[in-house]
């Protein structure tokens, strides 16, 4: 099976001032698959993710070279808002915006010009359901999003990310601040969602990558050490550093 990769990162080097945190990384995410990116803290995983939807450009002092292609198209040739609606992002700490649960999810569609109540209702229900949160919040959609529990807020964040109907969903260590049960629920959601979108999952839970990633990449100190089908990588890593990391010798 040789499908064209959905997201293609080529020769990406990213620096904050003089300090390079991602060094010449080339990596691709298969269409309708989950690309897991693992590596110890500070290995440049999260920074790399911000290049996919160009939020890196909003960080003062950051610069990058190299190319990120979405469906073969350089993301820099796309309009930033359009790109960010196509490449959604879920951040490590849940951020409920200080507005109602409903408005959190309706926010992006409204910005895009959706005004009809029925249409918004439909989007809100669909996204919150997809994020496995509907049953818990359906009776209190007008409650402040920031009043939900941490695990609920993270699922709200996921629902919000889905509200733009993205083709790529990036998650940056989404489970860092939530309980194991919620984590498993979201993992189940992700394996369903990949039928319809491509998922890039940055995680430092090796088992998480092993459970759900189709392809896993290992990064260390800003370099991509190796990448391959998850089963192969966990069993026959070619590089000693990968083996050591996967065996829990560091990181």
């Amino acid at each position: 099976m040789v499908a064209e990769p959905h997201v293609q990162i080529e020769g990406l080097t990213l620096s904050y001032g003089p300090r390079a945190v991602v060094k010449n990384v080339t990596l691709s995410a298969p269409r309708n698959g989950i690309l897991g990116i693992v590596g110890p803290a500070g290995s440049g995983k999260s920074s790399m993710l911000t290049c996919l939807n160009r939020t890196i450009e909003l960080t003062p002092g950051a610069s990058y070279t190299g190319t990120v292609r979405l469906d073969g198209q350089d993301v820099r040739s796309l309009e930033a808002s359009d790109l960010r609606r196509r490449v959604a992002m879920v951040l490590p700490l849940p951020v409920g915006l200080p507005m109602s649960v409903y408005d959190n999810v309706a926010f992006a569609p409204r910005l895009a010009g959706v005004r009809r109540k029925t249409e918004l209702d439909e989007i809100v229900e669909r996204c919150i359901t997809q994020a496995a949160l509907w049953d818990e919040v359906k009776d209190r959609l007008d409650m402040l999003g920031t009043r939900l529990s941490g695990g609920q807020q993270q699922r709200l964040t996921l629902a919000r990310a889905l509200s733009t109907d993205p083709e790529v969903l990036c998650l940056d260590e989404f489970s860092i601040a939530i309980d194991p049960v919620t984590t498993m629920r979201i993992e189940a959601v992700l394996t369903e969602l990949k039928e319809r979108m491509t998922i890039v999952l940055v995680t430092n839970l090796l088992m998480q990558a092993r459970r759900i990633a189709d392809v896993t990449a290992f990064m260390l100190n800003g370099e991509l050490i190796e990448a391959g089908p998850t089963g192969d990588l966990f069993v026959f890593a070619r590089d000693k550093r990968t083996n050591d990391y996967l065996a829990g010798k560091f990181g």
Binding site: N53, T55, L58, P60, A80, S81, D82, L83, R84, R85, A88, M89, L91, L93, V95, G96, L97, P98, M99, F107, A108, L111, A112, L144, T146, R147, T157, R160, A161, S163, T164
Partner: protein, 293 residues
Amino acid sequence: MPTDAALPIEPLEARHRRQSVVELALAAATALAAIPALAIVAFIVYKGAPAISWAFLTEMPVSGMTKGGIQPAIVGTLWLVGVSLLFSVPVGILAGMYLSEYAGESRLSRIVDLAIVNLAGVPSIVHALFGLGAFVLFLDFGTSILSGGLTLGVMTLPVIITSTKAAMQSVPHNFRVACWNLGASRWQTIWHVVLPNALPGILTGVILQVSRAAGETAPVLFTGAAFYLPILPTTVWDQTMALSMHVFALVTQVPNVSEELKYGTALVLLGVVLCFNSFAIVLRLYLRRNRRW
């Protein structure tokens, strides 16, 4: 680690004692600060209340200001404060917004910050001279509500800018990142998320400055306030009386004014300021009711 080398622990009693001493000292300092403020208000109410009547508030002064009401001063103060706000609120909020959201960290932005903080410390009489030179003479607005209001506006601008900036910076950065990730532009993020949450803080700055604009005498002394002008202003080009100026005049410039009239005028000034403040406080509470994170 040897546990028997524990830190020497003070006896519980001594710690409790010190706790209460600190608490007492803090409470005493608070009281010390509150007493003069309450005393001043009580004194002015006590001395001025007998002068207050409907006629006092709605009639013109007569007999060289020693009798009659103070209506033109009240109306004049409202005009002056209104003009100053029309200038300082939009300009101040936009400038604060720029400094918080767009300017970033650079040598230039630090210099601008420093300049604004210094401007806030300039004595009001210096603002008055600036207003005289810039608005009355150079721009040839004459001695008018416009000149006086703009002078007050310039005086209040720095605090409105700094409080706007501070209020916007207190909105967690996460919210902005979350919005950007949803495809919201910088401006959409500011408009939909940052500004609504910063509004109560911005209002606090504005409230303080309204009181200051209503109360200051010096800035309007040469620029807009008339000593004695028993007619109501109709346009911003008119001169006007002002409460602060009127108190100053009654107390120091006019012979044979009853104590009651002086304190009555001061009480009205206090009341006007209080009205502005309570309006803003209610607005602030209303805006704040839904904001929790």
